[in-house]
């Protein structure tokens, strides 16, 4: 099968030594098995994340995202852009759509891009990795490389916000998207149908600035995973992963809870199910060890 090619936008958190470095590690194993070739966009820059608006305003924010699209358009012609990070994807797709809708904004954007020697025709589609898996690869092909089904693992599929809203995955509902549960099934594990906090916000960037308020969200997200009988939480989002894993110890300290719920990425489930080692799946990057998953990897 010919490899499918994409212009790849890794994003800041997935870089080496950054908070979601283990996402990239596991994604590389997954894409290798699925014959997906990711061509990194040369010299890509930060998307501005959800918090960029405060100082960045509208046009500067659109322009930094347009820079990545313009480089992809020029250097990797004909390829869709794909990102593993919901915030990167959302910011880029929003930019693409807004510039397509308002020609005056596109003109202003190009005036600014010119300063960096770039120009945008706005022909590149921005997509999320889960979209690519579902729409381009398909469920059967996603299942085909499974050599170590994750038998007996009970998993709470936590979709969160930005992979789900405002764009989401085509054909899914905002209140109860099913694709993550289907991915869990595809790798042989059991999704927790009763998990109630599937699309609850983790507080996003406000986990830094409003820790008390955000930790209340995180507490609900983890508690409900325990209530549903899950062994671990799986998520497609870097910020969700970081917030929900990192702050459990803080919540324990403040509220006397005994949270120790592993939080992994869907890519980590896949790389293990596809025969990868614990290191291939970046499981050494967990603050809360995903013991049951490591055990399967070691079999």
């Amino acid at each position: 099968m010919a490899k499918k090619q994409y212009a790849f936008y890794p994003g800041c958190s997935s870089q080496k030594g950054a908070s979601a470095a283990n996402f990239l590690t596991s994604m590389n194993v997954m894409t290798e098995k699925l014959d997906i070739q990711l061509n990194e966009i040369p010299d890509w820059n930060c998307c501005g994340a959800s918090i960029g608006y405060g100082e960045g305003g509208e046009l500067p924010r659109l322009v930094i995202n347009a820079r990545n699209l313009a480089i992809a358009e020029k250097e990797l012609p004909g390829q869709d852009m794909v990102s593993g990070c919901p915030a990167c994807w959302l910011a880029t797709r929003e930019t693409h759509e807004r510039l397509a809708e308002h020609s005056s904004l596109l003109a202003e954007t190009n005036e600014a891009l010119k300063e960096a020697g770039l120009n945008l025709n706005n022909t590149v589609r921005a997509r999320h990795m889960t979209e690519v898996l579902i729409e381009d690869i398909g469920w059967d092909a996603m299942k085909a490389p499974v050599v170590k089904p994750l038998d007996g693992l009970k998993i709470a599929g936590y979709v969160g916000c930005q992979t789900n809203r405002p764009f989401g995955i085509a054909g899914e509902s905002f209140e109860n998207p099913k694709y993550l549960d289907k991915m869990i099934e595809t790798v042989g594990a059991e999704p927790m149908a009763k998990y109630e906090q599937k699309v609850t916000c983790c507080g996003g960037a406000l986990a830094f600035s409003e820790p008390e308020k955000s930790q209340k969200q995180i507490r609900d997200i983890v508690e409900s995973a325990y209530d549903s009988g899950a062994d671990m939480i799986v998520t497609p989002c870097q910020l969700c992963q970081a917030n929900v894993e990192i702050y459990q110890s803080e919540i324990n300290k403040k509220h006397g809870t005994k949270f120790k719920m592993p939080v992994v990425y869907y890519t980590q489930l896949m790389s293990i199910a596809y025969g990868g080692s614990a290191a291939d799946a970046g499981l050494n990057g967990q603050l809360i060890k995903a013991d049951k998953l490591e055990k399967i990897a070691g079999k």
């Binding site: 030594g17 405060g54 046009l59 916000c161």
Partner: protein, 206 residues
């Protein structure tokens, strides 16, 4: 009062709706709100919003300029996009909240030291400097935003987490001396400066 604010007051007199329409991101949507209240129950940090988005839209039409721009409600937005997908009138509520926060910040009417305002500024500075966000420098800047002594306290409180992340290779201590950055930093600086210049001109803030 900042000069920009004095100018805005002189220019728009008592027509705050017009000011929002002309100067706030997606502000022209505000008049489409039919006050159904759906968005009011959508915010994850709901109880922390002194004025819900619905109420903010009403206050804009009622000309309550100081109350809106000086409020810390918009800064409670987690960018969850619950409101956007629910609004029957399809208002881009998230973007309007972001736009109001940004405008209040530029006019310096936003609450001083509002934590999300502070981190938003630090985050943007960090990103523009090198084109990419350096998580370590960003976290350190955040811990130290309230001064050195408080910074040490904040950093100590989070030390366990920091060490855990370092051990897991998810926080790189070497970032303090270098770290990830783009090659065309000069181009990025010029581009961002230009974008800001164009937008300020369009919004009458130049």
């Amino acid at each position: 009062m900042s000069d920009l604010n004095t100018q805005a007051v002189a220019r728009y007199k008592n027509n705050f709706l017009k000011e929002v329409e002309e100067r706030v991101e997606d502000g022209h949507w505000v008049k489409m709100c039919m006050q159904c209240g759906v968005c009011a129950g959508s915010c994850p940090l709901g109880p922390a919003w002194q004025h819900s988005p619905q109420k903010i839209f009403m206050m804009i039409r009622a000309g309550k300029r100081e109350e809106v721009l000086g409020s810390d409600s918009m800064w409670m937005c987690t960018s969850c996009y619950n409101c956007i997908v629910r609004c029957p009138r399809k208002l881009p509520i998230t973007h309007i909240m972001h736009g109001l926060a940004n405008y209040a910040h530029r006019l310096d009417l936003a609450p001083k030291g509002q934590p999300t305002r502070e981190i938003a500024r630090l985050f943007w500075d960090n990103l523009v400097k090198t084109g990419r966000v350096n998580e370590l420098k960003f976290s350190l800047a955040m811990y130290f935003k309230d001064g050195f002594a408080q910074g040490i306290k904040n950093a100590m409180a989070m030390q366990g987490i920091g060490l855990g992340l370092m051990k897991a290779k998810r926080l790189n201590p070497m970032e303090i001396v270098g770290g990830h950055k783009c090659k065309d930093i000069p181009g990025i600086h010029k581009m961002v400066a230009k974008a800001r210049e164009i937008e300020d001109r369009r919004r009458g803030l130049a």
